[in-house]
Assembly symmetry: none
Homo-oligomer: 238 residues x 2
């Protein structure tokens, strides 16, 4: 069983789908499932549709927020089925699987799946390094939650069997919880220097930029050091 | 819609599964479905699970034998989940998809799926050119009919389209000359705030980080604005 790839379902509404997801995961040797605000869980329908993968359900963690679901994850991929107007990097399940395999081996990855009805919310996207779209019929794209998890888990299973390029980092990738401390710190400094947010999207843009870069822990320290230095000098200068 | 790939379900027993198969097919632009001796068809549960792919169900052909289902097909691939003792060629969904794409363009292909309970029968195998097995967890291989069709249809869709990652940017990527102005500016600010470069590799690391992110021109403006704001406030404070 692989424990470094976490499947995160955000606001799943149908218990049956949670069961199908567990089944899809286990078929591809994934076992780490986190549910953010499930409407009904645990539920007998989940167990029925898990078809023997109820160990995955029993071990699933239920949390109140996405941030909590991914604190220890260092690479976050969101899934989206609709062509969004966001300016983001979109990639395919195959490509993301190859990237996951290329990450340093102890990196914890989260694959995010939004609610059946609405998909991921804008605030969820703020945590993502990259977005994944499953290639499908442009005139009928109606993959359910279980199918979507199945396809991504399958691609990851396939990619692991044929290792390719790998990323060599000086330090492990920074985890989500530390990245959030950095964003909070940055927001503080921007306020202190009266940096104007004309569009109201400043932090969103800044997050997108740094998420794309996939900071390692050393780089994160440098950036936080710079922020502290800016604050320190300002303190002194007063 | 593609008509040259036929999905053949042999002895399907659950009407819901037939609906899921139709949905899986339509998602990947397949439309040619043939049912060999379905236990219950048509059925409202098929329509419910087809989730809008009921045109596929309406056009599905019902026949009494596999031979009848594939008279006009020239390449037949059977699917199997269990390791069989047969001496046959076994391949993967990805490989079969590539072979299908490589066939002369008017070749009609049939992908055969056996009953939920028993899979393909021995006499069905006699029609196959090749057998396909979906790679999965050796300790838990429990893909249902819909999932199996989904994975094969997806691989065929991918093989035809080979879509890859693309980056959707709000603005064009920043050009090198502007990036260099930014680095010079950043270096200036780091000096002004007396940020220590303990290893002598500070700028190298910072460049690597931002280069990875591939800044667009808007993001570059934000970053330069932040640098100016840091300088401006410091100027004022003095």
């Amino acid at each position: 069983m692989t424990h470094l790839v976490r499947i995160v379902l955000i606001d799943p509404s149908h218990p049956g789908n949670i069961g199908s997801v567990a089944r899809a995961m286990k078929n591809m040797t994934l076992s780490d499932l986190v549910l953010v605000r499930p409407r009904n869980f645990p539920h007998t329908e989940s167990i029925a549709l898990a078809a023997g993968a109820d160990d995955i359900l029993a071990a699933a963690r239920v949390v109140d927020s996405l941030a909590e679901a991914i604190t220890d994850c260092a690479y976050i991929a969101g899934t989206t089925s609709r062509p969004r107007s966001y300016y983001w990097e979109f990639t395919t399940p195959r490509d993301i699987a190859e990237r996951m395999v290329a990450l340093p081996s102890d990196t914890r990855v989260a694959l995010l799946f939004g609610s059946e009805r609405y998909g991921l919310a804008n605030e969820d996207l703020n945590y993502c390094n990259v977005l994944v779209r499953i290639p499908a019929n442009p005139e009928y794209c109606s993959l359910n939650l279980g199918m979507s998890v199945q396809l991504l888990a399958y691609e990851y299973f396939m990619a692991r069997e044929q290792p390719r390029s790998h990323i060599q980092l000086e330090r492990p990738l920074a985890t989500s919880v530390d990245i959030e401390f950095f964003y909070t710190h940055l927001q503080q400094v921007l306020t202190e220097i009266d940096f104007p947010d004309r569009t109201g999207h400043l932090m969103e843009r800044v997050r997108r930029l740094f998420n794309r870069a996939q900071l390692d822990s050393n780089e994160l320290n440098i950036l936080r050091g710079v922020l502290s230095a800016v604050q320190g000098r300002r303190g002194q200068a007063r």
